[in-house]
Symmetry: C2
Subunit: 394 residues, 2 copies
């Protein structure tokens, strides 16, 4: 186990009706002038927008609105939000929605007190200050409701980049009512499950030894997600399946599963290039890449892949040929992703194989583009090979 | 899953050398005049006392000392600490040690700003304010370094009672260097493991359905503890085993494993009477009681006990006779506790069977003494029957 620090101070109000606490929570965490950040249709359909607006009105808290945040959220909205906050003296961001609304709110929140261009904070510079961000979550997926991360796409160069990780990005509260997620289309439910599973896998596949506690937490959470996602798809109104997914999504990414161990994140790095170029849903992009990445890097630590297969998927251990067990784990994960309607190849994702070189080239726009990943260091040739593998039928 | 709120804001600095952060952490959380709270011999032997003192001196933070805190810590030290803090204008408590030092520091911290007798806050009244408490942990056991709990024994009537749970009791930081625990005597290491296992079991055995995520977290943590404790006993200097135990002990009791589900706590309630009367170590008392409690309540939900046996101990499931599997799980736990040197009967604990009626009678001093427990409601006759069962040889 490596040394670490960990602090996940977010206050969670979880369950049916907790959205009625929103006004009191904004006040408790110092909000007196609020910017409500959201996308569009879904938060109006599931009632979250109306609930948040009435909670603020009842608490007599003045608020402004920034709507129209898109999936794979873009810098334009962030600049617009920063201007609005400065102009109106906003001191609190309330995101209503999923990862896109939250990540936009986070970017605005660090951008307002920052002297330069907020994009610096997504190009390697660490944020030192942030306005407080509260969340009303309507999508179980990104874990942004408690994480120290935020990902924004800059229109200029279509650069989909993450912030430099810092605890200042962690929301102060998250209202989590699983009912809000019952109206999600099946594809989005599945993308959410694939995303949270990936957040665990990125931490699980590590070169660090002696990490049994976090291994076990990862394995347990993955088993819960594997069970709950098909239930939520079969019975969209199943509150309990939605609740398991919602809480698992948070735990998958507040870094409880990642402390004391090197983390990989290669699939996320590659996926950002896919979704920047083809606009795919993040979870779907991860699903299409993960089996190929696993196959490509498996030989680095067959034992860990066998452990994954045995503990998470209950595969029988082939003690003489652990690589057989390891491959079986990858096959089971692939089959599971397909069973929930996720693409498991670039073709199924809608990413043309001829654009693979463009994805690799686009990665080079980043500062320090290669190598990435700690379980296996991925250089440009590796990235191209993994994408080619992901383009093959499976 | 039930509705819940959860907030575990403690900042953890985990690993070798993290004690050097202590001064900076005290400053960061507002400490300018500090009371150092500790027991005696062990923190001097393992170096934690000297390290804390030099950290405070280097950070130029004035401090006072309250030493001599005993296991099963008593109210006398709390009153002494409250007086000292008020007299000297102390604004920060730094506990160096295990649960006894931390629980004493917590009691002082809520007592200083409270107008009445601090004991009110251990007799049903909720604390509203607390001075900040920081921790340098030297024992992996109680989880008090991040929990909302504290248990104090009042000299008058020998009442070992817990606080009314509240987030104000959560420490602001915990420095956790596993090296400090390498010099623990084997018995204390084992008591710590039994205590953290019990913190999970008290949450695991629940009447609440649809709690898969927390079930899985509980099961994973228990498996880690079952593996790490024997390693630490066989090789006291094994940093990695100590690290797993130390982190598991925190996770076992910051309530991450208990959200959204009713919790039981019957064994803890009964154990407090045992240790109040016979002065046994808390973990040992829990070990001596838990197999008897399990046997007594198993019929309430045989399926849950079978799940425990299969998932935690890898017992084969007897699908036609799940009670066989359930009993096998209890037997395996009992054998494991014995294997690490824990008592599994009252006789082994040193609690005389003839004092059983006195333990039940002593419980009646509490406000609302019976029934307790949610998995099974324990009345006075049940408590007596469980203690008698615990007195039988196994």
């Amino acid at each position: 186990m490596e040394n670490f620090t960990f602090c996940s101070p977010t206050y969670f109000a979880f369950g049916d009706g907790q959205e009625r606490q929103t006004g009191a929570l904004v006040r408790r965490f110092g909000g007196t002038r609020v910017l409500l950040v959201y996308g569009g249709g879904s938060v109006r359909r599931n009632g979250a927008y109306d609930d948040a607006v009435s909670a603020l009105r009842q608490a007599d808290i003045p608020f402004w609105e920034l709507s129209g945040v898109q999936p794979n959220p873009r810098s334009g909205k962030v600049y617009e939000g920063i201007d609005l906050c400065r102009r109106e003296g906003v001191d609190f961001l309330l995101a209503v929605g999923g990862g896109s609304a939250i990540d936009t709110a986070k970017a605005i929140a660090v951008g307002v007190p920052y002297d330069g261009d907020f994009w610096d904070l997504y190009s390697g510079r660490a944020a030192e200050k942030s306005l407080p961000v509260g969340v009303v979550l309507t999508l179980a997926a990104t874990g942004s409701e408690a994480s120290d991360s935020s990902v924004i796409t800059h229109e200029e160069g279509n650069r989909k980049w993450g912030n430099t990780k810092s605890d200042v990005y962690r929301p102060v509260f998250a209202v989590m009512n699983p009912h809000y997620t019952c109206t999600l289309p099946p594809y989005q439910t599945a993308c959410g499950a694939a995303d949270m599973l990936s957040h665990i896998l990125e931490r699980y596949f590590t070169p660090t030894d002696h990490v049994d506690v976090t291994d076990r937490l990862c394995e347990g959470l993955m088993q819960s997600i594997l069970a709950a996602a098909p239930q939520a798809l079969a019975h969209p109104d199943d509150y309990h399946a939605r609740a398991e997914l919602m809480w698992a999504g948070m735990l998958a990414h507040n870094n409880l599963c990642g402390v004391g161990r090197k983390q990989d994140w290669a699939c996320h790095q590659m996926e950002h290039e896919l979704s920047a170029l083809c606009g795919c849903a993040h979870g779907a992009g991860l699903a299409a890449l993960t089996p190929a990445w696993m196959t490509y890097v498996m030989d680095r630590d067959v034992t860990r892949f066998a452990q994954f297969a045995v503990r998470v998927f209950g595969c029988p251990m082939d003690f003489r040929h652990p690589e057989v067990t390891a491959r079986e784990g990858i096959a089971r994960l692939t089959a599971w992703l397909r069973s929930i309607g996720m693409p498991v190849t670039l073709g199924e994702l809608g990413f043309p194989a001829e654009d693979i070189p463009a994805a690799v080239a686009h990665r080079r726009l980043k500062p320090n583009p290669f190598p990435f990943g700690t379980f296996a260091a991925i250089g440009p040739e590796d990235m191209e090979a993994i994408l080619r593998l992901a383009a093959e039928p499976r």
